[in-house]
Symmetry: C2
């Protein structure tokens, strides 16, 4: 049964003709978990033929607009096409105010219930558990409060008892932070941002981002099985140098592109 990640947007703050801003979908046994929701996320769902009606849980890493502004359109469309099911929204507390102040001024308030779960913990915290998966949030180091997420399968469907439950960790925008290795240790797939090449280390530091080399290093010291890098600065028309740089430290690395699906086996 599926445990797979689909990249809906692989650019950083400025989208390009080929790369949308950040959004990722984790498919756990055909239940879809949306992580971040940049502008155009609802359109990417349609383009890659993923049914957003199956999304009941949305996780927002932090409140820079390229990570949440697509919520307005996605929630509006969900409502217009008749959604009644409640939606769980895990996000920094202020997002609730942002949505509330917006909907108090316009007539587009979604007609289905939204259950808001504020992220505010200073350490790893289990924020969701159901029969299929457990989700833990952990703070990352960015210019504003930001969190990563660790998804652990509760059981692995099928007859082969030797197969272990799978895991995925999502480290969105943030500085290289080796103290996260304990949390990320041994996950099957790590998504880590790699906004810049390492020659832009000072720029990465001043903007609260990581380099491709650092993303590889994070995967190496966390002993993960597989790494996917994304959130590329729009300055890189070709991301091969970013991929090569991460691979120089951690070989089993992929570069995100919009529409990439990684099956976690």
């Amino acid at each position: 049964m599926a445990f797979s990640l689909t990249i809906l947007g692989s650019s950083s703050g400025v989208p390009t003709a080929g790369r949308n801003t950040t959004a990722h979908v984790l498919n756990v046994h055909e239940r879809f978990f949306l992580i971040d929701c940049g502008e155009g996320t609802q359109i990417q769902f349609r383009r890659f033929r993923i049914r957003f009606g199956k999304v009941n849980h949305i996780f927002i890493t932090h409140l820079h607009s390229d990570h949440y502004i697509g919520l307005f359109g996605l929630l509006s469309t969900m409502s217009m096409i008749g959604r009644k099911t409640q939606l769980h929204l895990f996000a920094p507390a202020r997002l609730e105010q942002i949505l509330e102040s917006h909907y108090s001024l316009v007539s587009d308030r979604p007609l289905f219930p939204i259950v808001f779960h504020p992220l505010d913990s200073a350490g790893p915290t289990m924020i969701h558990a159901d029969a299929h998966v457990e989700v833990t949030s952990f703070p990352t180091r960015h210019r504003i409060p930001a969190w990563g997420f660790l998804f652990r399968e509760k059981f692995r469907p099928g007859n082969n008892r030797a197969l272990q439950p799978r895991s995925f960790a999502h480290c969105a925008d943030g500085l290289f932070n080796p103290s996260l290795a304990d949390i990320l240790r041994g996950v099957n797939l790590l998504y880590h941002e790699a906004t810049y090449l390492h020659d832009k280390l000072e720029r990465a530091r001043s903007t609260g981002h990581s380099t491709a080399l650092q993303a590889g290093e994070m995967a190496r010291i966390s002993n993960v099985q597989q790494l996917v890098i994304g959130h590329f600065s729009a300055r890189y028309k070709d991301v091969t140098p970013l991929l090569d740089q991460a691979k120089s430290v951690f070989e089993n690395t992929s570069a995100a592109y919009d529409g990439l699906t990684i099956q976690i086996d």
Copy 2:
């Protein structure tokens, strides 16, 4: 010298894989006027290779989210890539509150000046004039306050004195409204919404929209030269029947698609 309309989004409230929500760019002598700004507008600019740095005037017809929500991403990107030039924003008054309440809660406020021009008139009003073009707003009849826009070229560059200045009228969401014929009379190009086929007339009326037949009729009674219809309901995978219906009343009609450019000669 250019006087042309490019369609950036031709769907109604719900975008599809091939049709974004509403946004149009009028090129008047290489000065770009953006009319509405649905989700993903900045990405459409890039896709169709139109430089949004040349946009200094944005016109928002009304405050349904599929007509303005793309402003957040567009303004954010304009700011991130270093825009300093002031931007004129013509929109229903409440948009200023929407932007202000949003930016009071997040750290993404654009770093360039935005000059807000509230639309509030009950009749045709000239809202902008420069050396190249005059813009008149006029109220349309929708579920919430809404305005259309008439653009008239001030002079026609070139040596052929027989050529007349050109004009474009934009009628976004609204009911069939024959009283607009006086304003629209004889324009070179009319954009008119055509959300539904005429068999959905009751639905069109209850939602404040027009049918393709009504769009054609509006063009006919206004004696315009050319009509383009858009804002198609996502239910129509193929818009040929909408085009045929409008053409049955007004022959010189085109159906909008994302990326269509109509040169007005």
